[in-house]
Symmetry: C2
Subunit: 202 residues, 2 copies
C-alpha cells in the first residue's frame, strides 16, 4: 500500500513537473518576444518593437546629394525580417503569410561633402547616424489582396519617437512602386538582400 501511494505521489510530481516544463515553452516565448507586430481589429497596426534584433538583410543607401536633393528616402534603409520568416524563405523561396519586413531609415552621419559623405579614419564615405523613421510591409494575401498580398504602413519619417499606430498607406505612396518594380519577386526587393538573394545561409 505504501508502494501504491508512492507511485501515485511520484506520478503526480512528475505530472506537475511535466506541466511546468510544457507551460514554460521557452522556444515559444522567444518567438513571441521576437515578434510583437499587432494588427488591430480596425485595420491599423501597432508600432512593432524589438525589430532591431531581427535578422538584418540589407542597407540600401540613396543619399539626397545623389538625387538632386529629392530622394524619397535619403537615409540608409536598414531592412530587418524575423528569423523564422527568413528561415522559411531560405527553405521554400516563399515568404509565409504574416511575414513582416521592416525598413528603418537611418540618417547619414553629418555630411561634409556635396555627395553627402564625410571623412573618417577608414576613408571617405557614409556612416550611420540617427534613426529617422519606419516603414513596414506585412504579407496577408486575403486582407491586402488589392496590393498583391502585402499591406504597407509607416510610423513616421522623422527622429524618435515614432507614431504608436498607423493606418494602411494608400497605393500611391508605397505599394504602387512595389507593384511597378518587384511584383515578380513577391513585392520584395530581394535583389538587394544578399542573405535572401545569394542563399549562402547564415
Amino acid at each position: 500500500m505504501q508502494k501504491y501511494q508512492l507511485a501515485i505521489i511520484v506520478g503526480a510530481c512528475l505530472f506537475g513537473a511535466s506541466l511546468f516544463l510544457v507551460s514554460a515553452k521557452p522556444v515559444a516565448v522567444a518567438q513571441a518576444q521576437q515578434s510583437t507586430v499587432v494588427l488591430n481589429a480596425d485595420g491599423t497596426m501597432q508600432l512593432p518593437t524589438g525589430f532591431r534584433k531581427w535578422v538584418f538583410v540589407g542597407a540600401p543607401l540613396t543619399p539626397n546629394a545623389l538625387n538632386d536633393g529629392k530622394a524619397n528616402f535619403p537615409e540608409y534603409h536598414h531592412v530587418y525580417i524575423e528569423q523564422k520568416n527568413v528561415d522559411a524563405y531560405l527553405k521554400t523561396g516563399v515568404f509565409p503569410e504574416g511575414t513582416v519586413i521592416v525598413k528603418e531609415l537611418t540618417r547619414v552621419l553629418d555630411p561634409k561633402f556635396p555627395d553627402g559623405s564625410r571623412t573618417e579614419p577608414s576613408g571617405r564615405g557614409y556612416f550611420n547616424g540617427e534613426y529617422n523613421g519606419i516603414d513596414l510591409t506585412i504579407k496577408d494575401s486575403k486582407r491586402f489582396a488589392k496590393t498583391n498580398g502585402w499591406g504597407f504602413f509607416t510610423f513616421g519619417h522623422h527622429p524618435l519617437p515614432y507614431e504608436k499606430s498607423a493606418a494602411e498607406k494608400p497605393v500611391s505612396e508605397c505599394a504602387g512602386c512595389h507593384i511597378a518594380n518587384v511584383a515578380s519577386t513577391d513585392m520584395t526587393w530581394i535583389q538587394f538582400y544578399p542573405l535572401l538573394r545569394d542563399k549562402k545561409g547564415y
Copy 2:
C-alpha cells in the same frame, strides 16, 4: 492492482516526458547556436558561423570611388554583435570579456557612376552586393593585453568561401588603427553604431 500498475506506467511515462523536455533545453541550444566562435589552443580562431543572425549594429560604407580607388575596405561594412553582448553593453556601457564584433564586407552592387553608385527605382545610390570578406575582433584582456585587450583576425578579403581559420593579425594591419583612433571607446567604433551610441533600445 490494476490501478497500481497504471500509476507506475503513468509515472514512468511522465518521467520519460520530463527527461525529454529537460534534455531538449531549447533556450540553451539557441544560445549555443548564436555563438560558435572558437579560439584554438594554438591561438588561431575558427571561422565563425551564424553571425548573420546576430544583432546588426551598423553599415559604414567607404566606396573606392570616393577614395581615389584606394579604400582599404571599399565595401559596405556590415557589423554584427551577439545579442547577449549588446544587452550587456546597453546595460553597463562595457563589452564583456569574450565579446566578438564581426565586420562582414559586402560589395557595392554593380557600380555605374564614377562615385560607385547606380540608379534603382528608389533613387541613385548604393545597394548591397556580394559578400567579400570577414574581419573580426574579440575581447580578451589578458590574451590580447598588448593591443588594448582586443585581438584581430581576418578570414579573407574576397568572395565566399572564406578561410576556415585565421591567426591573429599583426598590430600594423588592424589594431594599430583602432589604437590610434578609438582607444577611448574600448577600441570600438561606437560612434557609427546607432544602437550602441544612442541607446534607444531594440
